[in-house]
Symmetry: C2
Subunit: 390 residues, 2 copies
């Protein structure tokens, strides 16, 4: 049993993985959205835990990692119902970001990121709807991947917005991340991206000092691929893309949880209750318009990335906000971050966040995103570019 | 005497250049802000022409080109008092953009750009306060340079905003542009920029299709310098930089012309009168704040470009607006363009606009901007990158 000194875990226990599997010798921690047989899936909210019985089986991603030989060491904190990005949970506290304890760990997969960053697990199982693996990975200075939407089964997982929800995982090094990726049946090598695209509108959302911190890693990637080619990613403007994301996500979140919330009035913390209230007010016309925009975005991303290109951009606008940041500061940060994170969400694209540097003590990440099913390309490029000695 | 088939000229005449000079055999056209002995300098406004006597001498830039052997073939249209960017003059019409006659030629150096684009002069003498050479160069598919502020004498020239005003010149090819540049005593070769910086916030102001049109030339530049390094140019946001530019320019423009305007009520066309009215209302406090911001911007640009780096970015957001565009469309375009053009103006930096491609029939330009006195670096890089056969 591990000793949780960073408030990463809801509970610690040990379930051994299958003997002799490819992940033998590795441990993992599972976000408390994933069913683990015999345990209540709490989803970050005490009322949820109180009103749900213990799971009778393992969620598909948990079963996959156990079957591949990794040992489960516990269930980790999540933002309430995964509907936040910062890692603050009004009921269970905020996991500690070991990379810079003054700062938020990021969320919603806060505990799994914190556990991996603190060395309490080798693999962190998270989920990513709007950035809940990518952003905490960047904040905690670790690797994180969100695979192609629909490619990895999430059976036995609390849904948030099913047309966006993916599993995702963290590791402290690329080799471990790649082993976990392979365990999920995804390729971890292959042709590199044919070229890199540099979405200037996404980059323009980042802080100056963060851009300066990630460009050395960009240069290493470009040494493999040639210069990244500037592109305007969102001709309609990233705020319009974000709005389409926000509306679709909210409408689906209310479909997933509106009835339970209306029945149980679960006493959400700041931000979460606001978001669900707004979600309850999405009109059918608003949702329809957002879905139409999403379809255009998806078609555009498919076209741009069709020939094996990959997007490269800072994962978030800057390092994690400070733990004592006020709500307006966090909201402004979140809105900026979601403009950067929403393209992959809208398009169902895989995105790999690579630890890229440190700004004022806080880690920042650089991301690669590619067409659907391009995980192997992204990992292959990252492997070459970050190989020691290059 | 040339035949003006593009409404570029206020009047055509011929003044021969000095025999045997380095520009022998070349012709030039001078914007009607420059004194030419024996001619009234009309500055694009009939009341100005009516209330000013014929010049008794040549403005310094005219004298320089004549002294270097170029032959002056006439005086060209300008936006009224040079206080616009599009090239529409309510009194004298809009010069024709030969590259795409459906589109505006750009201003305020509209006639000189149009004359060069139409082949009616080899060199076009313009002036650039906020972009009045750079933008028409891009719109007309020709080369244009704005040198370091204060480096080339503008004695005998109507001022607009003296702390921004520079001479500038156009040519259809780099060899001619370089010959004119040398005639003004500026270097045309030297070390290339040590590296290129890619200001993502400036790029994000451009249209998607324009970015796509200029990236092939960017790739040729990068083949010489290595990959351009992303940077946030304006941590305060380009709108804040533009606002500082706008206020400083307006305050100086009112200092230059307020008394004459108040006395003569010159009947300006649309846009110009509004801008001078706004200029008359700048408060001392507003001007002071804008100057303080300008000082910070200048210090930042000096620091960023200190080691021989150069900025590379699209000259304007897109090809020229159509001649029949309405005023709101033109205003929106102007505001976007000025966010891209204001950094060099604020910093007094040289900027070279290179013809880079065509979007829907209309030319677009890619610019290099460097530290003060870096004209030679910019031209040296452009020369290598655009050399035939590369």
């Amino acid at each position: 049993m591990i000793s949780d000194n960073v408030n990463a875990f809801v509970e610690t226990f040990e379930v051994s993985g299958a003997a002799g599997g490819p992940l033998a010798g590795l441990t993992f921690a599972a976000k408390d959205l994933y069913d683990v047989a015999g345990h209540v899936t709490g989803c970050g909210n005490p009322e949820w835990a109180r009103t749900h019985a213990a799971a009778t089986g393992n969620a598909a991603p948990v079963a996959t990692l156990l079957g591949a030989g990794a040992t489960l060491v516990g269930k980790t904190h999540t933002d309430e119902l995964a509907y936040s990005l910062m890692g603050a949970n009004a009921h269970y506290g905020t996991p500690v970001n070991s990379a810079d304890p003054r700062r938020m760990p990021g969320g919603s997969s806060s505990g799994s990121a914190a556990a991996v960053a603190a060395g309490l697990a080798d693999i962190g199982l998270g989920s990513d709807t709007g950035g809940s693996v990518r952003l905490p990975a960047a904040f905690c200075g670790i690797w994180g991947i969100r695979p192609t939407h629909g490619r990895v089964s999430i059976d036995g997982t609390m849904p948030l917005a099913p047309s966006f929800d993916t599993v995702g995982w963290f590791a402290r090094d690329l080799a471990t991340l790649a082993r976990a990726t392979a365990a999920f049946g995804l390729p971890v090598e292959g042709d590199r991206p044919t070229r890199l695209l540099l979405p200037v509108d996404v980059w323009a959302c980042a802080e100056e000092i963060t851009v300066a911190a990630v460009v050395p890693l960009l240069a290493r990637l470009e040494a493999v691929t040639g210069p990244a080619v500037p592109i305007i990613l969102a001709p309609e403007g990233l705020p319009a893309w974000f709005d389409a994301f926000r509306v679709c996500q909210a409408a689906e979140a209310w479909q997933s949880h509106g009835e339970w919330i209306s029945t149980h009035e679960p006493g959400f913390g700041p931000g979460i209750s606001d978001r669900f209230r707004i979600a309850s007010e999405i009109t059918p016309e608003g949702w329809e318009a957002a879905r139409a925009m999403r379809q255009r975005v998806t078609q555009r991303l498919t076209r741009i990335l069709a020939d094996g290109a990959a997007l490269v951009f800072p994962t978030g606008p800057g390092p994690a906000p400070m733990r004592n940041a006020d709500e307006p500061t966090l909201n402004a940060y979140r809105n900026r971050a979601l403009q950067m994170l929403c393209p992959s969400g809208l398009g169902g694209l895989p995105q790999l966040s690579i630890p890229a540097g440190v700004v004022d003590g806080g880690p920042v990440g650089l991301s690669l995103a590619g067409a659907r099913d391009s995980e192997g390309r992204l990992i292959a490029l990252a492997e070459i570019a970050t190989r020691t000695g290059r």
